[in-house]
């Protein structure tokens, strides 16, 4: 039997690891030790389960989407309803886990980076819950685009720090959070929002998010008596996708498809498809696929969905790509927008623009499959936050 990944140094095959300045290394090792002990501790596991159940509202339904299944005329489509979680997305699974760990480690301050503000809101939420001081780093450009989420975070008691450096978006917010962490390392816990960053984050975030796939696996076996043929999830950093995929990784008959943000189309260069159109490099503490120029300078990502607007991807996804365990492709802004409308009008479910990418691929995939085949789509978040974007697109069309 193959060894479980990551290895001791956080490598997933040729990816992952820990590429950070020495100042951060001892903190990462401390975090790794604390997490390893917590993960084995029945009390910690019980607390986490309890929070997921009573606070986040799990388990989330695995909903058979009869209307879109009929309309598409192919495989049976199930939606894993992460949008029904407290705060409206899967992000809360991870922030609850990390906040519990922070509390266990005696840290009274948590910080996080955020792009669209979803992870920032989920972090500010758990900070309020556990009575912790909270500071969120957010690019100036994103603050302008996502004013309502900034307000939500501030209502929850968090301090939102604008980041003006670099391109003033998610990657720069993450840079600044890492700098701040280096300066306040002794009293501060850094809550990374996706399966990226230096070891142990990719593994830890995956473990906290794996509740998605564990539930979905149990639910589909109960409803259909068999495993699905396909899993489809959107991939920015990749935490909802890895959360769904990982518990199915040994189920060889279940194919996994990660859907990256194709933006205005791969040939335009305006996209966030790190695996589909990037090259291997090192950013934010791990080795993975990156959008970069030929000199190793990281390029800006572009997506209609702020949550996918990241130039890297979790290292385990890079590994799944390299081994062929999962397949990665992309859909464009326009396709995601069409999927948003399709799901909204057919099922009465408004997906987050991120999740609409997964739906868009399912719309292409399902008609090519037989009616007895099963596809599970991760509906990672709800679309309320994206009303302005959808409205703006309508304007543009007129």
């Amino acid at each position: 039997m193959r060894r479980e990944l990551p290895d001791k140094q956080g490598h997933f095959g040729a990816f992952g690891g820990r590429y950070v300045a020495e100042t951060l290394m001892p903190a990462l090792i401390e975090l790794e030790d604390a997490y390893r002990r917590a993960a084995r501790d029945p009390a910690f596991r019980r607390d986490f389960r309890h929070c997921l159940h009573d606070y986040a509202g799990r388990e989330t339904p695995l909903y058979f989407a009869a209307n879109i299944t009929r309309r598409l005329g192919g495989a049976r489509i199930y939606l894993k309803r992460e949008d029904l979680n407290h705060t409206g997305a899967h992000k809360i699974n991870n922030t609850l886990g990390q906040a519990l760990l922070a509390r266990r480690m005696g840290k009274k301050r948590i910080i996080a980076e955020t792009g669209a503000g979803q992870h920032g809101v989920a972090t500010a939420t758990v900070a309020a819950l556990f009575g912790m001081e909270c500071q969120i780093f957010m690019g100036e450009e994103d603050i302008r685009r996502q004013a309502s989420n900034v307000f939500r975070m501030e209502m929850l008691g968090a301090r939102v720090t604008p980041v003006a450096s670099g391109t003033a978006t998610l990657k720069d917010a993450m840079n600044e959070a890492m700098r701040h962490w280096a300066a306040r390392i002794r009293d501060t816990f850094y809550v990374i929002g996706t399966t990226a960053g230096p070891h142990p984050y990719p593994r830890m975030v995956r473990d906290f998010q794996s509740v998605i796939g564990r539930e979905a696996r149990r639910q589909i076996l109960k409803k259909e008596g068999r495993l699905p043929d396909y899993l489809v999830a959107c991939v920015g950093g990749g935490s909802n996708a890895m959360g769904l995929f990982h518990p199915f990784r040994k189920d060889g008959d279940t194919a996994m498809i990660g859907v990256e943000a194709g933006g205005k189309g791969i040939p335009t260069g305006l996209h966030a498809a790190s695996i589909s159109a990037g090259a291997v490099g090192v950013l934010h503490g791990n080795k993975t696929y990156l959008l970069q120029d030929g000199h190793g300078q990281v390029r800006d990502a572009h997506s209609i969905s702020a949550g996918l607007d990241y130039p890297g991807v979790g290292p385990e996804h890079s590994h799944f790509h390299a081994t062929g365990r999962a397949r990665y492709l992309s859909v464009t802004d326009a396709e995601a927008l069409a999927a948003f409308r399709f799901l909204t009008t057919c099922e009465g479910i408004m997906p987050a623009m991120e999740s609409a990418h997964a739906v868009a691929h399912a719309m292409k995939l399902a008609p090519t499959l037989g009616r007895d085949q099963i596809v599970i789509v991760c509906l990672s978040g709800r679309g309320d936050k994206d009303m302005d974007i959808v409205a703006a697109q309508k304007e543009e069309k007129r």
């Binding site: 020495e22 951060l24 700098r179 280096a182």
Partner: protein
Amino acid sequence: MNRIEKRFRTLRSRGEKALILYLTAGDPNLQRTEALIPVLEEAGADILEIGVPFSDPTADGPVIQEAAQRSLRAGTNLAAILDMIARLRRASDLPIVLFTYYNPVFAYGNERFARQAAAAGVDGLLVVDLPPEEAAELRQFTHPRGLDLIALVAPTTDDRRLAGIVRGAAGFIYYISVTGVTGTKTPKVAEALPDLQRIRRRTDLPVAVGFGISTPAQVRSFAAHADGVIIGSALVKWLAVHGEERDLFARAALFVREIKAATIPRSEGGDEKGQAPTAGE
């Protein structure tokens, strides 16, 4: 013996400490950097750290972040920096350390980079986000070519890590004098002292101190306890402020001379007394 080792040896015999200057290559363009380096050398730089600009410099404060942005806007890249070093090397024995993040090196190709850096006359590499745990993939190419991989030690580094770090270290040990990023906090000698002693107990390599040291007075106080002092953000900021002035080079020379003087113990008076290898104890 490479140029770094030789320089520390010479300095030790003169009772001086090394003045290590950092500047971002290509800030605001490579022509300026190339013209400036001989001025810095002439004015008393003992070792030069040449910064490779990176889009996402997570270990740097605002001063060096902005320098990297200026440099990237001017189109600076690693190949051009190595070419510049090769030209400078024809006329100079100044020890040169490339200060870089890992991705520009990795994108260049580790083996190709090591080969060309050695050929250009680079003496050492400081890859700020490449800890010893991940360094083997680069060291396999740099070590056989005599390029020193300079190791970083931070205030957060415990004794167990320190032992591993010094085992693989070469050139000198770079002690990060504050917990944080470059050029943002002012380090205190009293706080650094126990760490400097901790490092000395484990290695005979020279120890240099940097991150936040900006004035001659600070240089003097750290020079009393270390083998070298690194001035980075303070110089980069000075150059950004004075960059447009017509007598820039003359003024830069004065700026550097004043700092260099602080690395020479006062009792020596700057004369060639030569001995006093005990300074620093």
